[in-house]
């Protein structure tokens, strides 16, 4: 049964990678990153249940805090770039290209 949870976590992580590398919409890319963080959380909780220790729960808490900070910053950047460029395409966001 433990393996089923881990396999589900791997499937969700691979779907997140697929969303990041195939879509060009900024919001979809950002939400795919959130999906990958959730898959990592599921693996943490599953291993914590397997070893019956609490450390995985604490790590999942940390991941949630980092995801909240990342959501705040990334959405601010998206609003700023939408104000400057008026688009939601990741291809026009290559401002730092040398």
């Amino acid at each position: 049964m433990i393996q089923d949870y881990l396999i589900l976590s791997i499937i969700l992580f691979c779907l997140g990678i697929l969303g990041v590398i195939t879509r060009r919409n900024v919001f979809t890319v950002f939400m795919s990153i959130e999906l990958m963080l959730n898959a990592a959380n599921l693996a943490f909780i599953t291993f914590s249940r397997l070893h019956e220790s609490m450390d995985g729960h604490v790590l999942a808490l940390m991941v949630m805090a980092v995801a909240a900070a990342e959501a705040a910053l990334a959405l601010a950047v998206v609003i700023l770039l939408h104000k400057h460029k008026g688009k939601l395409d990741t291809n026009v966001f290559s401002l730092l290209k040398g």
């Binding site: 433990i2 499937i11 697929l18 919001f27 599921l42 939601l88």
Partner: protein, 169 residues
């Protein structure tokens, strides 16, 4: 037996939500299917008897972060013409599947060699607020403080970025 039925129901719902996120064109539909994934993951945490994480997944992820994303999507008022046209979408998708599939099958093969255990609900306060809090404030105190600094920096950065006015025009 009942827990296995619940597990397969939640697993199918979460995979369907993730597929919807990858395949829907409009980000609002994608955000809605991501909410389905978050809520079914909360159910899976409850099946793994992680009570605190179950509550936090519902409150923080499905409540706070997803409503923030939905608010920003509604704030930008995205029409169909604002979306990038993804004409060669299917070529990228096929290439991505070709890259991802070997890695995923390799990871699944590794995971199957892990000695399995039963996932029955265990008592003794496993995953409750008190136990997680004891571990958090005894063994993980320094990372906890660092996370608080990270949240402060992200907050100030978001305010500075979103509130900046262009003066060079």
């Amino acid at each position: 037996m009942f827990a296995e039925i619940l597990f397969f129901g939640f697993a199918a719902l979460s995979v369907l939500g993730a597929l919807g996120l990858v395949f829907f064109r409009h980000p609002m539909n994608g955000a809605m299917s991501l909410v389905v994934t978050m809520i079914s993951l909360a159910g899976l945490y409850a099946l793994l008897s992680a009570k605190l994480i179950f509550a936090l997944q519902l409150i923080v992820y499905a409540g706070a972060i997803m409503s923030l994303i939905l608010f920003i999507i509604m704030f930008l008022n995205i029409a169909e013409s604002d979306l990038p046209e993804e004409a060669r979408h299917w070529i990228y998708l096929a290439g991505g599947v070709v890259i991802i599939l070997p890695i995923g099958s390799f990871l699944i093969k590794i995971v199957k060699s892990i000695p399995g255990g039963e996932t029955t609900i265990i008592g003794n306060g496993f995953g409750g607020v008190k136990e997680v809090g004891l571990v958090l404030f005894q063994d993980w105190l320094l990372p906890f403080e660092i996370v608080s600094i990270l949240l402060l920096v992200a907050l100030i950065g978001a305010v500075v970025l979103a509130g900046k006015r262009r003066t060079d025009k």
